[in-house]
């Protein structure tokens, strides 16, 4: 029983990371995906910050929904609550990182406040609520999604770095070629499709 729970947990993480990737098949967070992926360092910074925020937001929002909103019979207030939690969490994390790890703070810079409007965070928390996941499963979903975001945005930034020097026609320079590359990456990730089914 114990092992099967652990296996489910790990399978859910892998499934969220590779099979049902947050960017390439669920499209959460595409704005920052296109906007921030021009340099590898900034993509890495953004990815790590998003990992922090997604995991902490899921950790906080699940108890809030199940122990506060449901007993008070106001589950329809979920979106407003979540967005406030995420906004204050981002502020909180920014302050903590600034105090204890100033180096990381400087490298994350402007990407921290931008995470509030990253659909990936609200998307994961809202999906956990809508699918009525248990606490363990929603944490697995959050970790898998966050790691998937980090993986894809870093790989994509590396590809885009190479594309900068590639000789492509003038009209597909910039965003169009980035989107076409994303399409090819999405096809590559289709290969994981049959791997796991929960």
């Amino acid at each position: 029983m114990q092992t099967s729970a652990a296996v489910t947990f790990i399978l859910a993480i892998i499934s969220g990371m590779l099979v049902d990737n947050v960017l390439l098949s669920r499209f959460y967070g595409c704005c920052s995906f296109i906007g921030v992926s021009k340099k590898v360092e900034s993509a890495l910074g953004m990815g790590i910050a998003v990992v922090f925020v997604i995991i902490f937001a899921s950790l906080i929002c699940w108890p809030i929904y199940n122990f506060i909103l449901v007993p008070l019979e106001i589950p329809f207030m979920d979106t407003i609550t979540y967005i406030l939690v995420i906004a204050s969490l981002v502020q909180f994390i920014a302050i903590v990182i600034k105090k204890y790890v100033p180096k990381l703070y400087n490298s994350l810079g402007i990407y921290l406040p931008l995470i509030t409007t990253n659909c990936a965070v609200l998307g994961v928390v809202q999906a956990n609520t809508d699918m009525e996941y248990s606490f363990m499963l929603s944490m697995a979903n959050a970790i898998g999604t966050a790691l998937g975001f980090l993986l894809v945005i870093v790989v994509f930034a590396c590809i885009r770095n190479r594309l900068e020097s590639a000789n492509v026609p003038k009209c597909i320079k910039g965003t169009p070629i980035a989107l076409i590359t994303a399409s090819l990456m999405s096809i590559a990730f289709l290969g994981f499709l049959g791997m796991i089914s929960i």
Binding site: L24, S25, R26, F27, Y28, G29, C30, C31, I34, F76, M77, T79, I80, I83, L84, A87, T116, T117, N118, C119, L122, G123, Q126, A127, D130, K170, C171, I172, K173, G174, T175, P176, I177, A178, L179, I180, A182, S183, L184, S186, I187, L190
Partner: protein
């Protein structure tokens, strides 16, 4: 007065073509990629988006003097989130098929960059009426972009168009002449990225061409002016001599 009317018209039409939020400013890509699998879902999303944007733009422009500068972003987010909650509940009650198709993307209107962007860039500096017009123009532009993408994806991906499954107030009809030649690829996530990339590519192609035309035209005008100036210089001394 006429000038004033012209300004209003400009506020309305700007969002549709010149500053189209999806194709020109490349904002709000997440729902654009996710809901354009079928034409109906795109239409439904555009309607919900329009109601949210009009509501939030009008309310934020009404409250622009009351909201303190330091906490304006959280205030905007709460206003937008309230509208989204109302719309979500209305949609769940009256259009349950649309609600289940769009799913989490209705909630994600809250973090759609366009809504917050218009609040920040337009509604907090302009009058209520102008913000209302701006919201209509922007949401029409976004809706148009979604419909174009959805048309391409649905026709190529299913071989035709089917209506009435999701938006139940439209009578059901299905016109699928090319069903045996459908390309499943365009219904998949990869197809969404490809379609958006190709549309942006076509737009960039025409813009580049227009730009080149303009450069050539400017050069021609400059040459003409230089010629005229040269002629005038030749003439001028003659005039003085006379």
């Amino acid at each position: 007065m006429a000038n004033n009317k012209h300004e209003h018209l400009k506020n309305l039409t700007r969002g549709i073509f010149i500053e189209n939020p999806l194709f020109v400013m490349i904002l709000g890509t997440c729902p654009a990629l996710a809901v354009t699998k079928s034409l109906e879902a795109a239409l439904g999303m555009s309607i919900l988006f329009m109601i949210t944007l009009i509501g939030s733009n009008v309310v934020i422009s009404l409250l622009k003097k009351l909201i303190p500068e330091a906490i304006k972003i959280p205030c905007y987010i709460v206003i937008i989130a309230s509208f989204v909650t109302v719309i979500k509940m209305l949609c769940e009650a009256f259009l349950p098929e649309l609600y289940s198709t769009l799913g989490v993307f209705i909630s994600l209107i809250v973090v759609n960059c366009i809504v917050l962007g218009r609040a920040e860039a337009f509604a907090n500096q302009n009058t209520v009426f102008d913000s209302f017009l701006d919201a209509i123009g922007m949401s029409l532009g976004y809706g148009l972009a979604l419909v174009i993408m959805a048309l391409i994806r649905e026709i190529l991906g299913t071989g035709g168009i089917t209506m009435g499954n999701i938006l139940t107030f439209i009578p059901y009809f299905s016109f699928v002449p090319l069903a045996s030649y459908k390309l499943q690829f365009f219904q998949m996530p990869a197809g969404a990225f490809l379609v958006l990339g190709l549309i942006l590519c076509v737009i960039a192609f025409y813009q580049n061409r227009k730009h080149e035309h303009q450069v050539v035209k400017e050069r021609l005008i400059k040459q003409e002016q230089a010629l005229l100036a040269a002629q005038n210089e030749n003439k001028a001394p003659n005039v003085e001599v006379k």
